[in-house]
Amino acid sequence: MGIIIAVISGKGGVGKTTVTANLGLGIAMNGKKVAVVDFDIGQRNLDMVLGLENRVVYDIVQVMDGEATLKQALIKSKANDSLSFLAASQTKDKSVLDSLRVKNLLMELKEEFDYVILDAPAGIESGYEHTIEFADAALIVVNPEVSSIRDSDRAIGILDSKSQKVKEGEEVAKFLVINRIVAEMVQSGEMLRSDDILEILSIELLGKIPEDKGVVDASNQGKPIILNEKSKAGQAYKRIAGRITGHNIKMEDVESNTTSFFTKMKGIFK
């Protein structure tokens, strides 16, 4: 029996879909069976980031409507055999979701996979609530800026009151991923430090991902950045995937620019 992880943020555009794709692949690379599911009904995106947009035949709504079986709708990733993907519907809107149908689908996925990762839509409306309702854990993605922190704080508040686990008196495990950190800006005080973010949100830190121009390009090409060994963001994703699968990996330091200092020094000796 696997676990369901909802990737949420409150604010839109902070990197949920990117995190879902990369961690899905990263966890699969650690030898686990993973399903990533696009819950952003009507705005599907995850298919592109995974490079699977031309392979989608059936979507999540068709599975829930009984028009296709889960097996028919799941698409295997080209990059890794252990990763499967279930697409969001392009045409319908999120009002088609209801608790019972979501639950049935997720239970079926849970039987089959070690990790089921759900890419939530932006906002905190019904689509969001359906994503968190049956989650065992949540990855909260934030950017180091005030509006993102505040919106995710709100999303956490809803998670803490509306999820099934909480209603049963248990807790949903919550982990923070800080995305798009620019070391120079943290150093100059223009960008929030991770300590300040943790103090406000008071949840466990899972990882920090630097701003990396390669991310956009990788997503456009449908080859998640984690496949690029040289990319700093890719390496950060690798470490986070390692932590999720139970490896004890030291927290990355993406907030100070020591590396750039040493790179500069190296230049002098050349």
Binding site: V146, M265, K266
Partner: protein
């Protein structure tokens, strides 16, 4: 006896991940060629050979003599910790004094109040956590919040006790409290003869060093 005295540069480190260690020295070994590298903890044969091959001088698991300046840093840290402990004690004392005055229907909440959440208490409230931006606390009685408030407060009691909260929006008996007046670490806000009086409970610390 003959002897010579040198000052040498020392680089202290430990090996958490060999790959990381090696890639660091691959990039920076030139910077450390006249350093003594002191390695704490385990070190594999592979790493030993690697350092030798890079002509780096290293030594394992020795205790470095502590210089005056490092001793001072340590002392300063201890003093800082002592001060914090004392402060914590003073806060607890003050809170317990005031909590004795919390009488009607005292409610204690120790969870953080998050953005979008609203807490309404008929009576007194002792809140032992943060009030985040976008959260609201309303009480008909007295209110004590022991951590930072960045959200809104509406209080109708006889007194409030709040820490310095520059970002808060505080309305006490319908009157907005200027948060700049809450400049101290802990402040008591009272209604005396229809006037709002703010008294510092714990003064802002003065940092002599800066």
């Amino acid at each position: 006896m003959k002897g010579k005295q040198y000052s040498i540069k020392v680089y202290e480190t430990s090996i958490d991940e060999e790959a990381e260690f090696v890639s660091f020295f691959d990039a920076n070994h030139l910077l450390f060629k006249d350093h003594l590298i002191v390695i704490h903890g385990e070190m594999s044969e592979k790493i030993k050979q690697y350092l030798q091959q890079k002509s780096l001088t290293f030594i394992q698991n020795i205790t470095m003599p502590v210089s005056k300046s490092r001793q001072n840093i340590r002392k300063a840290r201890e003093a800082e910790k002592k001060k914090q402990d004392e402060e914590q004690e003073k806060i607890s004392e003050e809170i317990s004094k005031l909590s004795n005055r919390l009488e009607n229907n005292l409610k204690v909440i120790d969870r953080m109040v998050r953005s979008g959440q609203e807490v309404f208490v008929e009576g007194d409230l002792l809140l032992l956590n943060r009030v985040n931006s976008g959260a609201t606390i309303r009480t008909t009685g007295n209110l004590i919040v022991t951590q930072v408030v960045e959200g809104s407060i509406r209080c109708e009691g006889k007194f409030m006790m709040l820490s310095s909260s520059p970002k808060a929006n505080i309305i006490f008996h319908g009157v907005e409290v200027d948060t700049e007046l809450l400049e101290n670490k802990l402040n008591r806000i009272e209604l005396t003869d229809d006037k709002i009086v703010i008294t510092p409970v714990l003064k802002k610390e003065i940092n002599w060093a800066s």
